[in-house]
């Protein structure tokens, strides 16, 4: 049985005069200890997906339909008490900016010990010992002293390590990391990613990595979902998606990487912007930006189909590939 299984998840936001759909029929599975990346442009619904998995959406957002089965239990149907037991304890989340995620007026020790004691029957001293062990695991030097310090006394990388340590405190089954390194500089980014990879592998923790950095996804994850305008448009093994993307949007994303451009050339960006949630075009949401779009694309939403090694939601995927093959053959 998979650890997490999301079925037809639809999330809506009730605005004053209309209701917009932020997630439209998302389905995916995550096996125990598996690492999954969710990529897409800003506003594609990546973070909303992360929040919904914990049933943490606040007004005006709400889960309209769908199931989120975590270890066989439906998160959507859980009452507050069960949810509190789930959050932090079995599922943890790491946010983007370590500068603002820790409570500025409590010491590191207070925050860690409080978390432990809220979920487990432990004495203060036992909780402290666990906190020290976890800080060691994330390579914090002299953890006993760090426990007495306030967040503002620590650097960004150090804080993100502590946040990871807090996420791991209660040995959760799944960690949702929402752009965990976007606010850090590049060298620390690599450290943190390596640390997370190591911890997930050694503790058999599942990871959902939400990011727009394809490089990070390719290093960290086994499988990848590509999202666009609230839908999954391509899903499959990370290696396949990076090396041989099928959906024109994924291709565009990969071609837009600066590494794909020769010196002196312009970056190959995807023309246009992602549509706002209130004005998603009919048919395939990507059609106005897609150079392969046909009348069918403009009228009908493509179904997810199995194509080669991956699953992809595109009407034209076959034609596109044969075109490419022809081009390659010509070259």
């Amino acid at each position: 049985m998979s650890l997490l299984s999301v079925r037809d998840l639809t999330v809506k936001f009730a605005m004053r005069d209309q209701t917009v759909t932020a997630l439209n029929g998302i389905s995916f599975d995550l096996a125990k200890g598996e690492r999954l990346g969710i990529v897409g442009e800003s506003g594609a619904g990546k973070s909303i997906t992360g929040f919904s998995l914990m049933n943490l959406l606040s007004r005006p957002g709400y889960i309209d339909t769908g199931k989120i089965l975590f270890e066989g239990e439906d998160v959507v149907q859980m009452n507050d008490k069960r949810l509190r037991n789930l959050r932090g304890n079995r599922m943890a989340m790491i946010f983007q900016d370590p500068m603002v995620t820790l409570n500025p007026v409590l010491t590191i020790g207070q925050q860690m010990i409080e978390t432990l004691m809220a979920h487990r029957k432990l004495s203060h001293e036992e909780a402290r010992q666990i906190a020290i062990v976890k800080l060691r695991e994330v390579y914090i030097p002299s953890p006993e002293e760090r426990l007495e310090q306030y967040p503002h006394e620590l650097s960004g990388g150090m804080r993100q390590r502590i946040i990871i340590a807090i996420a791991l405190l209660l040995d959760p089954q799944l960690i949702i990391a929402d752009e965990p390194t976007t606010a850090l500089d590049v060298t620390i980014q690599a450290d943190i990613m390596e640390l997370m990879l190591e911890l997930c592998q050694s503790n058999q923790v599942g990871l959902i990595l939400i990011t727009h950095d394809l490089g990070v996804v390719s290093q960290m994850t086994e499988r990848t979902l590509v999202m666009y305008a609230g839908r999954i448009i391509e899903a499959g093994r990370t290696r396949e998606i990076i090396n041989d993307p099928q959906h024109p949007y994924t291709q565009g994303l990969i071609n837009a990487l600066p590494q794909q451009t020769l010196p002196g050339q312009r970056l190959k960006q995807i023309p246009g912007n992602m549509p706002g949630l209130a004005s998603i075009p009919a048919g395939c949401a990507f059609n106005p930006r897609c150079k392969y779009a046909t009348d069918l694309c403009r009228s009908r939403v493509p179904e997810i189909v199995h194509y080669g090694e991956v699953e992809v939601a595109c009407h034209e995927v076959q034609r596109l590939n044969s075109d490419e093959d022809r081009q390659e053959a010509r070259a």
């Binding site: 959050r87 995620t101 409590l106």
Partner: protein
Amino acid sequence: MSTETLNPKSEPSRWSKIWNSNMGYSFRRNPVAVVSMIVFLLIAIASFLAPVIAPYDPYDPAQIDIMNSEYPPAWVSGSLPEFVLGTDDQGRDLWSTILYGTRLSLLIGICAVALQAFLGISIGLIAGYVGGRLDSLLMRLADIQLSFSTLMVAIIFLAVTQAMFGTDTFNKYAVVFLIAVIGVAEWPQYARTVRATVLAEKKKEYVDSARVLGFGPMRIMVRHILPNSLSPIFVISTVQVANAIISEASLSFLGLGMPPSQPSLGSLISSGFDYIFSGSWWITAIPGVVLVVLVLVINLLGDWMRDVLNPKLYKG
């Protein structure tokens, strides 16, 4: 061997932490704050030590002799050396009476503010955190409360209780009634301030991360949001203590507060008011000066605190 030598890097004491903090530094750099603090501490300590310091007990009728009434202060001719600040119309030593009166005023001020703070902070926290209809309801209640002036509410309430319980019972529990009415009348100040801060704080990510860690709403409100909203609470608390002292003095002056047998500063000023034109100015003037100085230093301290705690107001 003492533990000090065993542990060479001993923890700095709490006091030295406060002394070396930003607040301690700006306090030392600000002469107005230092002087205000010294004056306030002098008044506070003197009044709380009143039973020790005061030469007479103004509450003890056996020590009061009506023949001693209306002696002027020591520096005016016709005074008696044992009454440094003179005596009031009933022959009480004014110095002792002021000490006891200040004690009462401070006590009422601080307790009333504690009550306001308790009500206001709880209501503000809930309104800000829960939001929605409950928020609107509580804030409209606050608006209604604010649209009555404190004095009006207090006068009606105190007049009714005085009539209901009779003057004797009322006088016995006057302190409690005053604390209650001043406390209840001013809670919206706190509620509004706290709500505004909570609205700003609850959007911050540490609140999300507390929710993600599975904390309940009570814990998030009290342990996570409240400590982050304390600075404005400190600032209004000082101003509110000054306001409460003034309210108490006004009510006592109007005869609805402390009875003449247990005078606070306000009732002392009021009782001397009748004699001001017969030349006994000191019965009103000296407690009046004490009241003004007390309120002034509290307000100056509040000003300083607002400057320190609100970085947006830093002047260069």
